[in-house]
């Protein structure tokens, strides 16, 4: 089924891989860093897209999972660095794979707890209660002194991945790119699966789903947990990219930005988050280089997209979404 959207998606995937590699060999490693940032934010937004795009769950609190992933990386690395045991005598670690697993589990558990209460509500109430939970965690992180509070927590040397020199920009980019690819494949599989069918139907018509005997609450909760896990892994990657974690990863601005990425790219579209993240990061970088007033122009551009490009950029290019 090689339709326009598939071709467009492939082109985006190839560009996101080829450009950083080219930049690296052209002696411009910074663009590799920029592409890494795009890949990581994309992965976080792919996670949110699962809840928001497929399930219609407008979470204004996904920064919570992003930050939890980040703090998992930071805390495990800092314990590995200092040699102090974590809890129950368990040591910290510098292995990314372990960190990702722990981040996923931590993100999943918190998403389960937040979802358990939040999913009782709907609409604007859901938007606001997810925001409230994220704010709770944000304030906790700021005022909890053990891991740096507002000052944040540095990761002195980027964590390790077997057989890869993660300190150099390109290999680290490739790790992030690979995880994004896995994330996109999982998203596609889930969207097309029985669970995905139930989830998308829940967004369209909750009563219908219940009256065929599928419990919408449990479907949504599962989607929210999976979504939180994706975003938590992205948070761990982001911490390693910056070699630093701070409560700003938990701020409501970040939750807003993740939503912005998705709308910019196209809600519910497979590559919506990727396209959105690429445009947002490049705009931020490009405008920031031109003028101190870049936020003003960023605002104007976002406004233009909402008002005149419904369905986001992917929608603009590949036409309306179709469901089988």
């Amino acid at each position: 089924m090689a339709n326009r959207e598939t071709i467009f998606n492939l082109a985006v995937a190839l560009l996101l891989l080829a450009l950083p590699i080219a930049a690296n060999y052209a002696g411009e490693p910074f663009y590799v860093t920029l592409a890494t940032r795009i890949a990581i934010l994309s992965l976080a937004a792919v996670g949110l897209n699962l809840a928001l795009g497929l399930g219609g769950l407008v979470s204004f609190g996904h920064a919570a999972f992003f930050g939890i992933g980040g703090y998992t990386a930071g805390i495990l690395a800092s314990h590995a660095f200092s040699g102090d045991p974590l809890i129950f005598g368990l040591p910290g670690t510098k292995q990314m794979i372990v960190i990702w697993l722990v981040a996923m589990i931590a993100g999943g558990i918190v998403a389960f707890l937040i979802g358990l209460i939040s999913l009782r509500t709907a609409g604007v109430y859901f938007i606001m209660i997810t925001l409230a939970f994220a704010q709770m965690i944000f304030y906790f992180a700021i005022s909890w002194p053990a891991y740096g509070g507002e000052d944040g927590l540095p990761i002195f040397v980027r964590n390790q991945f077997p057989g890869v020199n993660t300190l150099r920009p390109l290999p680290y980019f490739l790790i992030c790119y690979a995880l994004l690819a896995i994330g996109l494949i999982l998203f596609k599989l889930i969207a097309d699966s029985r669970f995905g069918a139930a989830l998308q139907a829940t967004r369209q018509n909750e009563v219908r789903v219940a009256s065929v005997g599928i419990p919408p609450y449990r479907i949504r909760l599962a989607a929210f947990v999976i979504s939180g896990m994706f975003t938590a892994i992205a948070g761990a990657l982001f911490a390693d990219l910056n070699r630093f974690v701070s409560p700003s990863m938990l701020s409501w601005h970040l939750s807003g930005e993740l939503i912005v990425l998705i709308i910019l790219g196209g809600v519910g579209r497979l590559f919506g988050p990727v396209v959105g993240a690429a445009i947002y990061v490049l705009l931020e970088f490009w405008l920031g280089g031109i003028t101190e007033r870049w936020q003003f122009f960023l605002g104007l551009i976002l406004l233009g997209v909402v008002l005149f490009a419904r369905g986001g950029v992917v929608g603009l290019i590949a036409g309306r979404a179709r469901h089988g």
Binding site: F30, T33, I142, E150, D151, P154, V157, F238, S246, E292
Partner: protein, 379 residues
């Protein structure tokens, strides 16, 4: 008058840089120019640029970028400046949390970092680094000065207050390091809090004889306005941050009489400072703040070091920086073992000069003060 001063200073600086023809230096400035707290970044940048202009230092190229007060953007910009712009020195960061995000990885990549404002304690102590120089103060310094001043003035029951975040706890710790008497109360407010009625009621009920508070930015403005209206009327002490020139205008008469600690003020009597204050006003049409003075000193430190050594020769340049052989607007200035300043800290009082509300030095809290973390630094 203004012209002669400028020419004189120009001559002085040229005289200094005459021996070795200064090598080119590329400086990356990451500072906050948009969003909350942009005023501080703008002052640091303006002070820095003014110093380059006054010295005619066209061998120093500056790349300036806005971090919007977000750590992850600051880190990204640092990567860009090192990887793409190939800068030799980074500077400009205002906030401790951003400094903690950027500095360790910058110095690990063998670049120099000169802090014009933030001085978080880990960077002064256990995580100090030979390539990291702080040209402002260690975060605790101004609070320590106020603690010493409170002791000297015989206050017996201060009520102390700061926001609940690391710089806030450091502030109260710093104060208590030099004030060891009784406290009427110790309160941590929420970061970003704007209403202080509850705290003011507690102060009134606590039987305090004075108040020490650290509330930077809008929080301090809000507290001072509300406090002045409350008729509590106790003497107020604080660090310079809540009473710097950029904020006093918004607080208005409510700030008059407040004692605050600073390593700089516009009435410090030396040639460099006179020229700084004069030319800053001429250039930007406003009085300089302490942030501007720190930016100005940072630039002059770089100019002086670049005149002595090539920045590509890291060891020589580091030694040149460490000498701190420049005319600081603060007067005496030298670096301690941990590359943090050893300097005098003054007590200022907020006064009205004509229609302008500003600060005047009334006492010296510390002479040649060094921070408390220097001993933890292995250098």
């Amino acid at each position: 008058m203004k012209k002669t001063l400028g020419a004189l200073a120009l001559g002085l600086t040229l005289g200094l840089s005459a021996p070795a023809m200064a090598e080119n230096v590329k400086v990356g400035m990451i500072t906050t120019l948009s969003g909350g707290g942009a005023g501080l970044g703008i002052d640091v940048r303006d002070g820095f640029m003014l110093a380059l202009k006054n010295a005619g230092a066209n061998n120093i190229e500056v790349v300036t970028e806005d971090d919007a007060r977000k750590p992850e953007i600051a880190v990204q910009l640092a990567d860009k400046m090192i990887q793409s712009d190939q800068v030799d020195i980074l500077t400009g960061i205002i906030w401790s949390n951003l400094a903690m995000a950027v500095v360790p990885s910058v110095v690990a990549q063998d670049k120099f970092y000169l802090s014009p404002n933030a001085g978080p304690s880990p960077l002064a102590g256990s995580q100090c680094h030979q390539n990291y120089f702080n040209v402002a103060w260690q975060n605790d310094n101004l609070h320590e000065a106020m603690g010493a001043y409170a002791t000297k003035e015989g206050f017996a029951k201060p009520f102390i207050m700061a926001p609940n975040y690391p710089a806030g706890t450091d502030a109260l710790t710093g104060f208590k390091r030099f004030y060891t008497g009784d406290l009427a109360g110790e309160v941590y407010t929420q970061l970003g809090q704007t209403d202080y009625a509850a705290e003011i009621a507690q102060i009134r009920a606590s039987g305090a004889d004075s108040i020490f508070f650290f509330l930077p930015g809008g929080m301090g403005i809000a507290f001072m306005k509300q406090y002045a209206q409350s008729d509590v009327g106790l003497p107020v002490l604080g660090p310079a941050f809540s009473f710097s020139q950029d904020i006093l205008g918004a607080v208005g008469d409510a700030a008059l009489g407040v004692k605050n600690s600073s390593q700089w003020n516009k009435d410090i009597d030396n040639e460099a400072n006179k020229m700084f204050v004069e030319t800053f006003q001429a250039e930007y049409g406003r009085l300089p703040s302490l942030y501007a003075s720190q930016g100005y000193d940072t630039a002059n430190l770089i100019i002086a070091a670049a005149a002595k050594a090539d920045v590509k020769d890291a060891d020589a340049f580091r030694a040149a920086l460490k000498e701190a052989d420049f005319a600081s607007v603060r007067g005496d200035f030298k670096f301690g073992n941990n590359n943090h300043p050893i300097q005098d800290i003054y007590v200022r009082e907020v006064v009205k000069e004509g229609e302008v509300i500003t600060n005047k030095i009334i006492a010296t809290a510390f002479e040649d003060h060094q921070d408390a973390y220097a001993g933890e630094c292995g250098m």
